[in-house]
């Protein structure tokens, strides 16, 4: 059992990275962040802000999409990792759960989970033990272990995707948009499991999420991205109280609703200033 909450040790450090797709499309324009060991760090922002790209830059899935980190550095435990391929990173303990679940549709739920242990040279017994651990966290998956993953519900597929990542015995999970397309009740369920994994198994999370409200309730620290830049960061509690965050991301305002036009111009000005 590990103590809950982030420690002082920084696991992952992203320094001022710039990402370009296909040699021409500039997506990230200098993103820096730190992920402390044992914490849940949230990466927030709207569509196209660069959350997914940031995660893919870290896990190096960018390369297969013809994207490239052109400036800056990404360090894991103080070691430069941006030239490693995804398999090497998984072996180092960093694994990404991609947005939109990405289950192997024609494999059964259990086979999906087993692919997570691909990089480990673990014995059958160890893998079975891990499988049971995953089933403890996601009892629903145990019932559906023999079903083809493509025929399970969205929530179950998200569980498969997270469970599959856990099978690699990761230290850090880069979790991309787990709430996407799920009913609020399921979102809550998934986030509670994430919290459980963080507290009981000591897994560090970097979480990209559009659902700012839920993310800030479960995360310890948050970064807000806008158009490929970090525009704000702070402890989750502070961000929740911040009037700008409240207004733009949580949809609350002290002065009543503003018109969309005003919000947009305000946002634009704010970005120039930052």
């Amino acid at each position: 059992m590990l103590d809950a909450g982030p420690t002082d040790e920084t696991l992952l450090e992203v320094n001022n990275i710039e990402v370009i797709y296909n040699h021409v499309i500039l997506v990230l324009k200098g993103v820096s962040l730190k992920v402390p060991k044992g914490g849940i760090t949230a990466l927030l922002g709207g569509n196209g802000a660069g959350k997914t790209t940031t995660l893919k830059a870290i896990s190096n899935l960018l390369h297969s999409e013809r994207g490239e980190v052109t400036k800056g550095s990404i360090n894991y435990r103080g070691e430069r990792v941006q030239d490693l391929n995804p398999a090497e990173l998984v072996k180092k303990g960093v694994i990404q759960v991609m947005e939109g679940r990405h289950c192997f549709e024609h494999l059964t739920v259990e086979e999906n989970l087993l692919t997570g242990s691909y990089t480990r040279g673990a014995s059958r017994g160890d893998i079975d033990a891990d499988l049971n651990m995953v089933y403890d966290y996601f009892p629903r998956l145990k019932e559906r272990r023999r079903s083809q993953a493509g025929y399970t519900s969205g929530g179950e597929q998200q569980m498969v995707a997270i469970g599959r990542a856990i099978m690699s015995k990761p230290e850090t999970i880069l979790l991309d948009e787990p709430s996407m397309g799920l009913a609020p009740q399921l979102v809550e369920e998934i986030f509670n499991i994430v919290k459980g994994l963080n507290e009981k198994e000591g897994v560090t999370f970097l979480l990209a999420e559009q659902n700012t409200n839920v993310a800030l309730r479960f995360a310890h620290y948050g970064y807000i991205l806008e158009s490929g830049r970090v525009v704000m960061d702070g402890p989750a509690k502070d961000l929740r109280e911040n009037p700008d965050v409240k207004e733009f991301y949580l949809g609350m305002s002290d002065e009543g609703r503003k018109s969309f036009r005003e919000v947009r111009s305000y946002r634009r000005r704010k970005r120039w200033l930052s």
Binding site: A87, V90, I95, H102, H106, G116
Partner: protein, 328 residues
């Protein structure tokens, strides 16, 4: 039994045997298509190349002999040794694995995430390159391939059927061996893909490249593996076809016959390739036997394609093609 029926049965059985060979070529296509989404036009040429290499190794031919002789004015053709067929098959397999690796390193590694049509074009290029390369390496003359598979009429079947019906069926021993080997091959492939870690990874890659990458499966490794397995299947097909009709460059054309097989069976199904191959094999022989005389014969040339066309219209995913899973 009336003669016509007996003769029809014999045609049917021969069709099944021919179908096995179609199925073997189609199998190579399915493997690569499933795992990488590449429609490998070069599969037929791979069978040819494998057969050429096998003959070359067995006969101790000097590779690039013509080229060497032309450049240096020498007269080398053979090393002067003969390698036993079993060893030669293993060596050829090594060549096919190396080929898979080279193809991956030089071509497909650089085309990750490209449009399927671009990948397809690359395989067309590969096909022509390999055909020319095989020609330069081993020469273009028709070669006899004899790896010790018994050939000619199976006496036992002839005798038994003669005793039972008063009409001996002519079944070639080679066809029987081909059928047995193809069956074993398919069983092995199914066991491999269903019950081993690498097989599971292969199916995972087939389903979703990105997700496979994200759990740490090396696409490069899987693809080299798949091309190697396809190379092995090509070798088996090359041996069978080579033993049947000699190793010659028209061998690469059998790839075209595999197309209707794939349309029938579905591009993504291993059992589909087998059943599709058998249906085409039996279908074209029976059609020729029953309808052929009425239309002046030579129906074998087009029957498979017309059948494939009908399938494209009424069941585009083929008999066993993977239904696209759609949740509503």
């Amino acid at each position: 039994m009336p003669d016509q029926l007996l003769f029809g049965t014999e045609v049917f059985l021969n069709g099944l045997m021919a179908g096995v060979l179609y199925a073997l070529v189609a199998l190579g296509f399915v493997l690569i298509y499933k795992a990488s989404g590449i429609f490998n036009y070069a599969q037929g040429v791979m069978a040819l190349f494998a057969a050429l290499t096998l003959v070359g190794i067995m006969d101790g031919q000097v590779p690039f002999a013509h080229l060497i002789n032309a450049v240096f004015g020498t007269e080398v053709h053979h090393f002067g040794w003969n390698i036993p067929s079993f060893l030669a098959i293993i060596l050829t397999m090594g060549v096919m694995v190396a080929l898979a690796w080279i193809v991956q390193q030089l071509i497909f590694r650089h085309l990750v995430n490209q449009e399927p049509i671009i990948l397809f074009m690359a395989t067309i290029g590969l096909a022509y390159f390999m055909e020319g390369f095989g020609d330069i390496m081993w020469g273009s003359d028709i070669k006899k391939l004899d790896v010790g598979i018994p050939q000619g009429m199976n006496a036992l079947i002839d005798e038994v059927t003669y005793g039972a019906f008063g009409y001996g069926f002519f079944i070639d021993n080679l066809d029987i061996v081909a059928a047995v080997i193809a069956t074993i091959l398919v069983i092995l492939l199914v066991l491999f893909s269903q019950y081993t870690k690498q097989g599971r990874a292969m199916r995972a890659v087939a389903d979703d490249h990105q997700a496979a990458l994200s759990v740490g499966i090396s696409l490069n490794f899987i693809w080299v593996m798949v091309w190697s397995v396809a190379g092995f299947v090509a070798l088996v097909a090359g041996i069978m076809w080579g033993a049947k009709s000699g190793v010659q460059f028209s061998l690469s054309l059998i790839a075209l016959k595999a197309l209707p097989v794939l349309m029938l069976g579905g591009f993504t199904s291993i059992p589909g390739a087998i059943v599709g191959g058998l249906i085409i094999g039996v279908g074209e022989k029976m059609f020729e036997f029953l309808i052929g005389p009425m239309v002046g014969g030579a129906t074998e040339n087009w029957f498979a394609y017309v059948l494939a066309l009908l399938f494209l219209v009424f069941r585009p995913q083929g008999l066993f093609g993977e239904k696209i899973i759609e949740r509503v």
